[in-house]
């Protein structure tokens, strides 16, 4: 059993919002990822499959469709740099390069010390405050390249 008692209780609550309980799946996967180490393990998918009355492969099919879900363990801090047009026009490339240097990770990979996972992402809806990156869910906007070190440097 990968799901904690607390998560199961939350799920019992969540399904009440919908006429069909499957609708709770995506919000619930978010909660699992938040609480259970930053990724969705095969064990979590099996538990979800049992709860929702689906096959594990169906849960996998949903989870793998959505870029925010991680299906393998990753570094402790998730750094997502926007690479879409408004950010690109204001220097996103340089932010990506600095983020690579500061995290010692390549895009799409975690750093060897397990501190960081670095990725590029599509538009995050902060285009008028470009360039931007998201660190552990928090938006950092209007970045200058020196900001990258300031923001990431202190993370353990």
């Amino acid at each position: 059993m990968a799901l904690t008692e607390q998560l199961r209780q939350e799920l019992d609550e969540l399904v009440r919002n919908y006429p069909d309980k499957r609708a709770a799946l995506i919000p619930f996967l978010h909660r699992c990822q938040e609480e259970l180490g930053g990724w969705i393990s095969p064990e979590v998918m099996e538990d979800c499959a049992e709860y929702f009355g689906l096959e594990p492969v169906e849960i996998y099919g949903v989870a793998s469709f959505y870029p925010m879900f991680r299906l393998r363990p990753i570094g402790r801090h998730v750094v997502s740099v926007c690479r879409n047009i408004s950010c690109d026009l204001r220097g996103a490339d340089e932010i990506v390069q600095r983020a690579c240097a500061v995290t010692s990770a390549r895009v799409g990979e975690s750093s060897d010390d397990g501190r960081f996972y670095l990725e590029t992402v599509e538009c995050q809806g902060a285009c008028a405050d470009a360039p931007m990156m998201v660190v552990d869910g928090t938006y950092h906007e209007n970045l200058e390249s020196d900001d990258v070190e300031r923001i990431l440097g202190g993370l353990e």
Binding site: P19, Y66, N84, D93, G125, G137
Partner: protein, 436 residues
């Protein structure tokens, strides 16, 4: 067109604007109370129709008309829903985020007025997963409103009941498309559904459903408070009201500005966004997000409304202007956008799945100096194979449209890349200290 009256962002400017206290202090939910007491559902829909409000989510469809497609509850007793589209992921578009974060109660009031008009039993607010603070703000506002008897059973002591539920997406552009959104909300992959059937007949869980954008619904309390005539006085005859214009890219002051529909893009650029940055000249602009055709600078005096922008061969879209100055490379911009559509295609239709991949590869090789002269015609042929109306949803069109406009307006720049075997602007950008 007066040009100076604002309303959309007025509430956002107040301290504590996201709280029920502040909202109520300024008349919040008074309109809802009056509507529930004095107007029939049909009368509300009629006022919204009469106002001429058009959807702010990209397609500009008349909102009142869309509401009137919902079946008559006297003939069809199925449960009825609205899905509020807060997935905002069209590149360049960053307006709904402001409303969700700063004025969530007005959105809730708009949802409830819409719910009365369409006799809904629940509204699902589908927020893109990355919008953590906006989501928390709306959730807190829903909780406050429920505690105050504004959401749930017997709203404000009337016989009308309606629930509002929050729902979190997980980062896929296609879930902003209305039927992809419904599939996603049901807990599936965001694969758009073939239409017909349309959502009003067969929507969430097969029940009658209306999908509206955040900014659209945000306009509704104002229209019911001040009247259709007031609204029609703003903007243009066919595109009334103000809109939130996101301005991004190479401008001095990027931002989200409230302006009347029909204000010339040049004025928005100069008076609000402070002009092109660093005193440079404008080269090109997207009028309304990355899915709208890229236009040459010579069209920047065009009024920002649906008909005028259509008149220059582009689209109003989400009204999010993206500006490129003289140092920007149109080929690179095209590649960045094509790569986005390739990444976001859900893969159900081969024209889209393969077409977006090809477009991305061809723009990439032209930008890298590996392009061939015949690539330009190939881009056009591919785009013709992808749209219009050849696929389940309009994502394929969204990738084809900017491709056509780039070939049409910037053929010389494509050719120059191919003949030189490199990007002619790269050196210039570096020399001027612009992002490479």
């Amino acid at each position: 067109m007066s040009g100076t009256e604002t309303y959309l962002l007025d509430g956002c400017a107040r301290a504590g604007s996201h709280t029920l206290d502040v909202y109520r202090k300024h008349g919040g939910y008074d309109t809802l109370a009056r509507v529930l007491k004095e107007l029939t559902p049909a009368e509300v829909t009629e006022i919204v129709k009469d106002s001429g409000l058009r959807g702010r989510g990209g397609a500009g469809f008349p909102t009142g008309l869309k509401w009137s497609f919902m079946p008559d509850p006297a003939q069809d007793d199925r449960t009825r829903y609205m899905a509020l589209n807060a997935d905002e992921s069209e590149p360049g578009t960053c307006k709904d985020r402001v409303l969700l974060r700063e004025d969530p109660h007005r959105l809730i009031e708009g949802c409830l007025i819409a719910a009365w008009a369409m006799q809904l039993s629940a509204v699902y607010i589908y927020v893109r997963g990355e919008y953590r603070l906006p989501y928390d703000r709306v959730q807190a506002a829903v909780n406050e409103a429920r505690a105050a008897g504004l959401v749930g059973a017997k709203i404000l002591g009337t016989d009308f009941s309606c629930e509002i539920f929050m729902h979190k997406g997980a980062g896929a552009y296609i879930c902003g498309e209305e039927t992809g959104l419904m599939e996603s909300l049901e807990g599936k992959r965001g694969h758009p559904r073939p239409k017909p059937p349309f959502p009003a007949g067969f929507g969430l869980w097969g029940q009658p459903t209306t999908v509206n954008n955040v900014e659209t619904i945000f306009n509704v309390p104002f229209i019911l408070e001040r009247g259709a005539d007031w609204f029609k006085n703003l903007g243009t005859e066919k595109s009334p009201g103000n809109f939130l214009c996101g301005v991004s890219g190479h401008v001095e002051r990027p931002g989200v500005y409230e302006v009347p529909l029909g204000m010339p893009a040049q004025r928005i650029l100069d008076e609000h966004a402070g002009g092109v940055w660093k005193g440079r000249a404008l080269k090109a602009w997207f009028p309304g997000g990355s899915s709208t055709g890229l236009m040459p600078a010579s069209t920047i005096d065009t009024p920002m409304d649906h008909d005028s922008i259509r008149g220059i061969g582009s689209m109003f879209g989400t009204g999010a202007m993206i500006l490129l100055d003289e140092t920007a490379c149109v080929v690179r911009a095209s590649f960045v956008i094509a790569r986005f559509y390739d990444h976001e295609s859900c893969g159900q239709c081969s024209q889209c799945r393969e077409g977006t991949q090809w477009l991305s590869q061809i723009f990439e090789r032209i930008e890298d100096g590996r392009g061939r002269p015949e690539d330009i015609d190939l881009l056009t042929d591919l785009a013709h194979g992808m749209a219009p109306g050849k696929t389940i949803c309009a994502l394929s069109d969204a990738a084809a449209i900017p491709t056509h406009s780039v070939v049409k307006h910037f053929r010389a720049e494509l050719l120059e890349h191919i003949e030189l075997g490199r990007c002619p602007l790269q050196a210039k950008r570096v020399a001027e200290g612009a992002p490479a």
